[in-house]
Each structure stands twice: as C-alpha cells, then as structure tokens.
C-alpha cells in the first residue's frame, strides 16, 4: 500500500519495550488528531500484540528475538503491523477465541485478541508454526460516534 506517511521500528523482544512500542504508535497516530479514547484504543491494541509476540512468540527465551512495529497512515486511517519470528500459531481461529489462552498458569486471561478486535476496526492474523506471526490492524480516526 502507498501510505501518506509510514514508520518502522525494530526492537528487542523484551517486556520493557511494550510501553515503548505503544507510545510510539500513539505518537505516530497524533497527526490524525485522535480523541483521547482513540489514542487509548491504539495503545491498548499495540500493547496486546507486542506482549503476545514477546511472551507467546518467543516464550521464555527471547534471546535474539526481535519484534517489528510498522505503522502507516493513509487519509484518515492508521494501519499497524506487529511482526515476530517466533513459534507461530497453529490454530489461529482457536487462538482468537475469547478467553482462549495457552498460558493460564501465567495468569493470562485470553482476552488479548478480543481487545484488539474491540478497539480496532479490523484485525487480521497471519501465522506459520515455527516461522512467526503477523498481526495487521487498522483503525479509522475521527468516527466520533464511539
């Protein structure tokens, strides 16, 4: 897609980068003049996807793992991609089911994808076991009816 503006951020798969990533995405979206609620939606969705990449994609040993955050703006819509080269998801439909988690012992609630789908206009997941996962989301800014 030919965007009006775009950015790419590659970061270590470390939990301290979760806040960094969501703040970057929110700052990038600022040119669309989002409401406070829209900014919160973007931050939360990015936080969910980046956290998933770190804890599920790379699991306990994120030694050389990297997470990539790509954002693009076209007209009044922000497009966001979160990419990891971790273990991948074999059953995407199951993974996206509300309350499904493969890590209940870590106090995960299985709400990550549900939150992304609620807060963004579209969420698409591409994944291949042992190759990695791409989460693509978009949100039109300025639908002030929400």
């Amino acid at each position: 897609m030919e965007y009006d503006n775009e950015m790419i951020l590659e970061m270590s798969a470390k939990s301290r980068n979760e806040s960094f990533a969501r703040v970057v995405a929110a700052s990038f979206a600022a040119s669309l003049d989002p409401t406070v609620a829209e900014v919160a939606d973007i931050k939360t969705a990015v936080s969910e996807a980046v956290t998933n990449a770190i804890i599920h994609g790379y699991g306990e040993s994120p030694k050389n793992g990297t997470v990539t955050l790509k954002c693009g703006i076209l007209q009044d819509t922000i497009y966001i991609e979160i990419i990891d080269f971790g273990k991948g998801i074999s059953d995407i439909e199951e993974a996206m089911t509300p309350l499904y988690t493969s890590a209940p012992e870590d106090e995960r609630s299985g709400m990550g994808f549900t939150i992304m789908e609620t807060f963004m206009d579209s969420v698409e997941v591409l994944s291949q076991p042992s190759k990695g996962t791409v989460v693509r989301m978009s949100k039109k800014i300025g639908q002030r009816d929400i």
């Binding site: 301290r16 609620a37 995960r108 709400m111 990550g112 939150i115």
Partner: protein, 114 residues
C-alpha cells in the same frame, strides 16, 4: 512501577502508580502476594487514581487476586477507574466479579460494613 500498599485491618489497599502491562504486572503481583500472606489479608482494594493505562495483563492480575481473596470469602474491589480502564472492565467481564466504587472512602466503608 511505584506502588504503595496500605493495610487496614484485613484489607489491603493497593495504589499502583503508572501503566499496568505485562512488564509491570509481574513485580506488582509479587509485591501484593507477599504482603497479603504476611498480613493475613482477606480483601483487596485497588485504587486506580494513578493508572492511566491497563491491558489484558491487568485483567489477569485482578482475576488472580480475586481467586485468592474469594478462596477465603474475601472480596476484590476497585475504585477510581478512568474511562479507558472502564472499557477494559466492561469487555473482560471483570466488572461482574469485582466491586467497583467511585472513590476510596465509599469503597472502604462498604468493605468494612460486610
């Protein structure tokens, strides 16, 4: 993340300052659980006046403490949640299991009346 814990009888008041995500929730959980055992805590009250952001890691944290407290017939309560946190409480079903209060005094009074 800075967090203050206050003990009031068998109730622990947890006041986190900053975002609650996967990174910060791990230490927060350890701090709460250690103190809860030491002080024989029955109820937990989260004061979210200083929490602007919380994602699903916070849901897991609250549900986990809810399970611990309800095992002893105690309750888990939350006060001062922002509009964006409220949406997380709504879609996750958290609002059905925790007691939501507008402010700290109201929350403390209600817990002590039980």
């Amino acid at each position: 993340m800075e967090t203050s814990l206050k003990i009031l009888g068998q109730t622990m008041i947890v006041v986190p300052i900053g975002d609650i995500d996967h990174h910060t929730s791990i230490a927060l959980r350890e701090k709460i659980d250690k103190e809860a055992v030491r002080e024989n805590i029955k109820n937990i009250l989260f004061d979210f006046s200083n929490v602007e952001f919380m994602d699903s890691s916070g849901i897991g944290l609250i549900i986990g403490r809810y399970k611990l407290m309800s095992a002893n017939n105690g309750i888990t309560a939350v006060c001062h949640i922002s509009d964006s946190l409220r949406r997380i409480f709504d879609i996750s079903g958290l609002k059905k299991i925790v007691h939501l209060y507008g402010n700290l005094d109201e929350a403390i009074n209600q817990i002590q009346l039980r």
